[in-house]
């Protein structure tokens, strides 16, 4: 079996990030796009923690808390926006976000 090192974690994190990116670019549902952004942020968090562990540097662990907080705030505001859009247009396609004035 292959010995697991920092590379394995980094590749996994890059894969998660790119899966999230594909979702953000291709999906039309605003809610799913928000989910994919969470996925990207999680991929980044994984690489932070992996660097922190393999280089014995706790900054990598601490930055994750801040990323998590910002991600949670983004989800809260994003969902509030999505629901406002939903109320207005009765569907949640990303195209509805193109209007500058409601």
């Amino acid at each position: 079996m292959l010995e697991v090192g920092i590379n394995h974690y980094l590749i996994l994190s890059a894969a998660l990030f790119c899966i999230g990116l594909v979702g953000v670019l291709l999906r039309k549902n605003a809610l799913v796009i928000l989910m994919c952004i969470e996925l990207m942020l999680n991929g980044v968090n994984l690489s932070f923690v992996a660097f922190g562990y393999y280089y014995s540097n706790l900054n990598g662990f601490i930055i994750v808390f801040f990323v998590m907080t910002v991600a949670a705030c983004e989800a809260a505001v994003g969902l509030a926006l999505a629901v406002a859009i939903l109320k207005r247009f009765k569907e949640i396609n990303i195209k509805n976000f193109e209007l500058l004035k409601g």
Partner: protein, 174 residues
């Protein structure tokens, strides 16, 4: 144990995380996307655990799996979204171009990883151990004190914004 169990754990959790991550993007129904997202969060929490970030793993479960994703699932369930399956994916040449672009980014990241000298590091320089939790806390409240305090301001702003948005026109029912 005969086999190195830490590696088995990495492969099991990594596979689970990846499959669930693909599920988030590929599932047509947003409800399944949200449930796949829960699996991803749990898998990543397990991966944090294998990296000895015990407290981070716990927080990942509490904040992401226990709060953020519950909100996603709740919103998807509140507003019946089954009917808009047709608009799930865009189509045509645009889609292909985007996919190729993401492929190029992934290739760049992967080649950067393999070209760098990181590959030699399969062992932490020195073990962080279980005492790392207290060390993390001490650094968070001394070195990162500004970030910590500014987080409360961010949360305050988001509370104001979310309440304002949710209470805007359209009444109390959606």
């Amino acid at each position: 144990m005969m086999i190195n169990s830490a590696e088995v754990l990495f492969y099991i959790l990594g596979l689970m995380t990846l499959i669930a991550g693909v599920g988030v993007v590929a599932m047509q129904n947003p409800i399944y996307s949200a449930l796949c997202l829960v699996m991803t969060m749990i898998g990543i929490s397990g991966l944090f655990f294998t990296l000895e970030a015990y407290f981070v793993a716990g927080v990942q479960l509490i904040v992401y799996a226990g709060a953020v994703t519950v909100l996603f699932v709740m919103v998807v369930m509140l507003f019946d979204l089954r009917k808009e399956v047709s608009s799930a994916l865009g189509g045509g040449i645009n889609t292909a171009a985007k996919a190729v672009g993401v492929g190029i980014i992934l290739g760049l990241i992967l080649s950067a990883i393999s070209l760098s000298k990181l590959g030699t590091s399969t062992m932490p320089l020195k073990g962080l151990g279980a005492s790392s939790i207290k060390e993390v806390a001490v650094q968070l409240f001394t070195k990162y004190i500004f970030g910590f305090e500014i987080i409360s301001v961010l949360l305050l702003l988001v509370v104001v914004g979310a309440v304002g948005l949710a209470r805007s026109r359209g009444g109390t029912h959606a």
